[in-house]
């Protein structure tokens, strides 16, 4: 591309944006609104995933030891548990420690249960390397002699894993759908500006302009409009998410949200690139028909 031509393309792109003021505004508005929805959804999805991961990290198996096991057998059990492939950490909790914890949690309800009348059993708290392996590991541990019962909140955990999976897939499908919709909307809006300039394109072809010479100003116009359209939701999301994060930290402190500095820069970059690409592709698609003179 000649530098002279490049300057001409950029100049033409800006002139065209100015000449077609309302259409340019409409294109920017469409990109801005669609990318704002898309960006909000990405933030929502990332946070759901983050929260789900935080919960998953806390999932552990409690394996209760048979009452008849002596200290030696308990140590053998600990060794055989730690040797399981998917297990990351095994922690022994004596029945005395368990009672102290329970008393701390339930207070007056546990009155009367003293160490000499301790109804609890010794147990192991087991963490797996991969939280998704918990049900399988629990089933394996149950088979080990000397383990009386295994508990990991089976229903809750199964539901959690299933629903986070569904949320992730639905989220992905939704995001792809939104990006596609954005592209179609932008292509349509740009098609209106191109239609308005069909005469200009026809004249260009008659005076000997190559197809790329005709295309480039429109592509640059698409890139400029797409980038401006992406800049607006980026700024809105940076501000709004920052505010939402501060509010949540004060009022919903139990919710582990993703920190703004961890995602907003990448999200803005993604939206800007997406805006530029959508603008460029939208321009190219919408002007194909007009080049056949």
């Amino acid at each position: 591309m000649l530098i002279r031509n490049f300057i001409y393309y950029i100049k033409e792109a800006f002139c065209s944006i100015g000449r077609n003021g309302w259409m340019s505004f409409a294109s920017v508005a469409v990109v801005a609104i669609t990318l704002l929805i898309l960006g909000s959804f990405i933030l929502l999805n990332l946070n759901v995933e983050h929260i789900a991961n935080e919960i998953k990290e806390q999932v552990e198996i409690i394996a209760r030891v048979d009452e008849n096991c002596g200290p030696l057998e308990v140590e053998e059990l600990r060794v055989s548990l730690i040797q399981l492939a998917q297990v990351e950490e095994v922690r022994f909790v004596s029945k005395e420690e368990a009672l102290v914890r329970l008393k701390a949690q339930l207070g007056e309800f546990m009155e009367g249960y003293e160490q000499e009348h301790n109804p609890l059993r010794d147990s192991f708290e087991i963490r797996t390397i991969n939280p998704e392996d918990v049900p399988a590991v629990a089933a394996e541990i149950k088979k080990i002699p000397g383990i009386a019962a295994v508990d990991y909140g089976a229903e809750v955990v199964d539901k959690l894993f299933r629903s986070t999976n569904v949320i992730q897939w639905v989220g992905l499908a939704f995001m792809i759908g939104l990006a596609g919709t954005a592209m179609a909307l932008i292509a349509n809006t740009i098609k209106l500006t191109v239609t308005a300039r069909a005469k200009e394109i026809m004249i260009m072809k008659w005076v000997g302009a190559t197809e790329w010479f005709i295309r480039w100003p429109f592509i640059f116009e698409g890139i400029i409009l797409g980038t401006i359209g992406a800049l607006i939701p980026s700024l809105i999301l940076i501000y709004a998410y920052g505010e939402a994060f501060s509010w949540a930290r004060m009022n919903l402190y139990f919710l582990p949200l993703v920190a703004p500095e961890q995602i907003l820069l990448d999200l803005s970059k993604l939206l800007l690139v997406l805006g530029a690409v959508i603008g460029a592709l939208g321009s190219m698609f919408s002007m194909r028909r007009f080049l056949k003179v």
């Binding site: 000649l2 002279r4 026809m202 004249i203 260009m204 008659w206 005076v207 000997g208 197809e211 003179v293």
Partner: protein
């Protein structure tokens, strides 16, 4: 310069616009293509401009069969010809200067070349004083002169004009044809489709008469023949 052999054109709707046209136009000729509406004048002009392809036959221009041009070669062919339209086809929101310069920008001319050649073209069509006016502010005759300036600014050796006086009054039409004649005198070949009898009769140029897609008369220093209707 132009050699047409066994040219046939049938439109997709079945209309036979041209039937077995055979024709040679020499360098520096001025040719009127006349005939009634639907005789095939515009189709012939548009085929020479390579707007579309004929159903069969060859069109050799500048020693090259333009029916065999690849799509990407067409722009380079069009740079060698100047086109004048009946409806002017100017960019209304741009000035006279910008409309003419536009034809140079698209072929990659430098700003210096544009500054030199556009005033020359405007002087040729007597529009020097109106360079800064917007195209839509001009009269029909002036707009057609801008269209002419745009057609000649890249110094093409062939000018094709499809009914360039169709929307103009007789006096203005006369001015336009005189300008085309002046361009022809400077060395360009001119092919002009028209059904303006007075102009054709007064110019005493070569006249090709088309009727129902066929050439029924080809006369040097001819006149507009009523057989065309």
């Amino acid at each position: 310069m132009i050699e047409i052999q066994h040219l046939n054109m049938v439109y997709p709707n079945g209309v036979k616009a041209l039937k077995d046209i055979n024709l040679t136009i020499e360098r520096n000729e001025f040719v009127f293509v006349v005939g009634a509406s639907g005789a095939g004048k515009s189709t012939l002009i548009r085929l020479i401009g390579r707007e579309f392809l004929p159903t069969s036959g060859n069109i050799r221009v500048f020693n090259k069969d333009i029916t065999r041009l690849r799509r990407r070669e067409v722009p380079y062919y069009r740079r060698k010809i100047g086109v004048v339209f009946q409806d002017f086809r100017l960019l209304d929101n741009r000035t006279v200067f910008e409309n003419v310069a536009f034809a140079m920008q698209v072929v990659g001319a430098s700003a210096r070349q544009i500054r030199r050649q556009v005033p020359e073209a405007l002087e040729m069509v007597k529009l020097t004083g109106k360079a800064r006016r917007k195209a839509h502010e001009l009269s029909g005759g002036e707009q057609q002169r801008v269209c002419l300036a745009r057609a000649i600014v890249n110094k093409p050796s062939l000018i094709i004009a499809d009914e360039p006086t169709g929307n103009l009054d007789p006096e203005t039409s006369r001015e336009i044809v005189e300008l085309l004649d002046a361009i022809n005198l400077r060395g360009a070949t001119v092919i002009m489709a028209t059904h303006d009898k007075e102009i054709v009769d007064s110019m005493k140029k070569r006249v090709l008469t088309l009727s129902a897609g066929k050439i029924i008369r080809d006369e040097q220093r001819g006149v507009y023949n009523q057989d065309a209707h």
